[in-house]
């Protein structure tokens, strides 16, 4: 066999190296100029799992408000591109493609399927666009795949405990208010969110556990999945009212929309006095509470929610240090503070 290129004379080698250097310089020049301007505008792509969810709509309004406030405070133009995935993960994946192609600097994603955020993360990683997930927490394995993934939401365990405490505190103060028929047992029905949804399971588990831990004598009559929806909850409640007449004393709901559905059914049946508790503190939920229809709810601070998402997203987009007022747990999670709201029982 013949050895070829390695046997050239040193003069020729130099010529070839010089030629290669020229070619490299030319090719580098072909890559075009780099932008190193200071940013005075950012573009945030937002995808919501559904547009008709009351809580998500409240958050959307807050995001729009906070983006305007950020614009005014910092003098940086904020463009929001808001999309609704209509409950389809594949639609959301396509929306992420479009948001990236529109040149969004950061994505804020409310995942349709928290178990299936992989595709969104893959797309974002490939494009080098950081992602702030909110409201529905992707699984830990996904979150650990990249250091530019963040999550903002409420701690579902804390939510459940607060809901349980709301009922337990009232039971201690006014047992008759909760144990309506005064038989020493509080009979309840349970309205749960989606099947296998982590938040639904954790909220239910800790709400009931807290009631037990606090010594409230409870008995579950029945329960069902209403997929966070008012109409489905209303239909379920109607069935339970007819199948278990005069026994339901308490309705424990995983969110306010379903609690309002239960109230709708109770009103249709002309039943008064049944206590209904929700979670989320949505505007219609709080309104129902003020009107004496909903006993109470666990409310996450929407203003903090909106601010945290926008501030974190803006910092990511601008490549600035993350905002100190929203300290992250494990460098990627921010938990929104929550509070118990209860109807004015004196008035």
């Amino acid at each position: 066999m013949r050895r070829c290129c390695f046997l050239w004379s040193s003069g020729k080698k130099k010529k070839i190296l010089a030629l290669l250097a020229v070619v490299c310089a030319f090719l580098t020049a072909c890559q075009g100029p780099r932008e190193e301007e200071e940013k005075n505008s950012i573009r945030i792509g937002i995808s919501l799992y559904r547009g008709d969810d009351t809580f998500i709509n409240n958050i959307r309004n807050e995001l729009e408000e906070k983006a305007k406030e950020y614009e005014q405070e910092h003098g940086i133009k904020v463009t929001l591109d808001i999309q609704e995935a209509k409950g389809s993960q594949s639609t959301q994946n396509n929306q992420v493609d479009r948001l990236i192609s529109l040149g969004c600097d950061v994505l804020c994603i409310n995942p349709v399927d928290r178990m299936d955020a992989t595709v969104v993360i893959d797309k974002a990683m490939t494009a080098g666009v950081p992602v702030v997930f909110f409201n529905r927490q992707p699984v830990e394995e996904d979150m650990n795949r990249w250091d530019r993934l963040y999550y903002i939401g409420v701690d579902a365990k804390e939510t459940g405990i607060l809901q349980g405490q709301l009922i337990a505190d009232l039971y201690r103060e006014q047992p008759d208010r909760i144990d309506i028929n005064d038989d020493g047992v509080v009979s309840y029905v349970l309205l749960e969110g989606e099947t296998n949804h982590q938040d639904a399971m954790v909220r239910t588990e800790w709400s009931i556990q807290t009631l037990k831990d606090e010594g409230v004598p409870i008995e579950r009559i029945t329960g069902g999945i209403a997929n966070w929806e008012r109409s489905q909850a209303s239909a379920l409640m109607e069935q339970w009212i007819s199948s278990c007449p005069d026994t339901i004393e308490l309705v424990v709901s995983n969110n306010d929309d379903m609690a309002l559905g239960a109230i709708d059914a109770l009103e249709r049946a002309g039943i008064e006095g049944v206590n209904v508790v929700g979670i989320d503190g949505t505007n219609p939920g709080v309104e129902a509470m003020e009107n004496g229809k909903l006993l109470g709810t666990v409310s996450s601070n929407k203003e903090v929610y909106g601010s945290a998402v926008i501030e974190l997203a803006a910092s990511c987009a601008l490549g600035e240090p993350l905002p100190q007022e929203y300290p992250l747990t494990d460098g990627r999670y921010y938990w929104i503070p929550q509070e118990i709201l209860i109807q004015d029982l004196e008035g």
Partner: protein, 320 residues
């Protein structure tokens, strides 16, 4: 030692690699066809987008079809003409190819637009349209007249009509609509009385002081309609004193109230088409296609029974 032929082959091979590299990673040899993406800014007169739900759907649909990048912008404070001009200026400086504007004040905008850049502007206008203006127009005065004519068919002559006006006369839209309705109702012998919301109580106090006998309520804005609907829903006694609640707008709140029977009738326009056509008109202006004559949107009167009719269902609940 390598022969001449071998060296030539190596050089050719290197040239081939360089060409291959150029083809793959730069656009020097093969240029990808550039798709022009038009940047369009939509600046409305409101601080919220509640009244623009279906409009945005139409706008987004057109954005996809015409390959446009459409940004929807609300004001920091509603009905602030100066701020709207600042935003128009900002968007032009940021490279917007075209603007779609729902003007707070058409005169202020017309005076200012002459001084500014050359990006074409489509107006979401109201009232009588001017010729040769790129605009999608709703004639709210006519809409008010149309609603009043429908009310006349349903309520006895001489009835009291309580007209819910805005706290301050800021919106020309609401004013045009109410003037149109009032003119028809007063001609028909109805006793019209304008009331304005008071403090935090809004319209509650004025509704609770309804005149003797059954009154009819006409709301001048979608917000007033929603508020009145909410008050009547909460208070069945008060609702019993009301012969009918009328208004305008196709917000979800208005449609839900119509469906539940709280609202008797509303006048609406096809907001989805309005959003779609405004983007289409902006694209046509950019591509120097089409005329610049304004497009006047029709108004429709609907009641609960009409909600499920396919022509209205498609218009009020458009599929994206």
């Amino acid at each position: 030692m390598i022969g001449k032929r071998g060296k030539l082959l190596i050089v050719l091979y290197m040239i081939f690699l360089v060409i291959l590299f150029l083809m793959c990673s730069t656009d020097l040899i093969i240029r990808e066809p550039e798709k022009e993406v038009y940047q369009i800014a939509v600046i409305v007169e409101d601080a919220r987008d509640d009244n623009y739900g279906n409009f945005r759907k139409g706008m987004d649909q057109a954005a996809v079809e015409f390959n446009a990048d459409v940004r929807f912008i609300t004001l920091y404070e509603e009905m602030d003409a100066g701020q709207q001009l600042d935003l128009i200026d900002r968007e032009r400086q940021d490279g917007a190819d075209a603007l779609i504007v729902a003007p707070v004040d058409e005169k202020v905008l017309a005076a200012a637009s002459g001084k500014q850049g050359s990006a074409p502007m489509v107006l979401l206008g109201i009232g009588e349209p001017e010729e040769k203006t790129a605009a999608v127009v709703v004639d709210y005065r006519k809409m008010g007249e149309q609603l009043a004519e429908e009310m006349k068919k349903r309520i006895p002559a001489g009835s009291h009509v309580l007209i819910l006006a805005e706290a301050h006369e800021r919106s020309a839209t609401a004013e045009d609509f109410l003037q149109g309705a009032e003119a028809v109702l007063e001609d028909g012998g109805y006793d019209c009385r304008r009331v304005r919301p008071e403090g935090e109580e809004g319209y509650r106090e004025v509704l609770e002081a309804l005149p003797e006998g059954k009154a009819v309520i006409l709301a001048g804005t979608p917000e007033a309609l929603a508020e009145a609907g909410g008050i009547l829903e909460e208070d069945p006694v008060l609702a019993g004193c009301v012969q009918g609640l009328y208004g305008r707008g196709s917000t979800m709140a208005a449609l839900n109230d119509l469906d539940s029977g709280v609202v008797t009738g509303i006048c609406v326009t096809d907001e989805f088409s309005r959003g779609y056509f405004s983007v289409q008109m902006a694209i046509e202006a950019l591509e120097k296609r089409g005329g610049h004559d304004p497009l006047v949107m029709e108004s429709y009167y609907i009641e609960k029974k009409d909600l499920r009719k396919s022509e209205y269902e498609k218009m009020l609940f458009p599929m994206e």
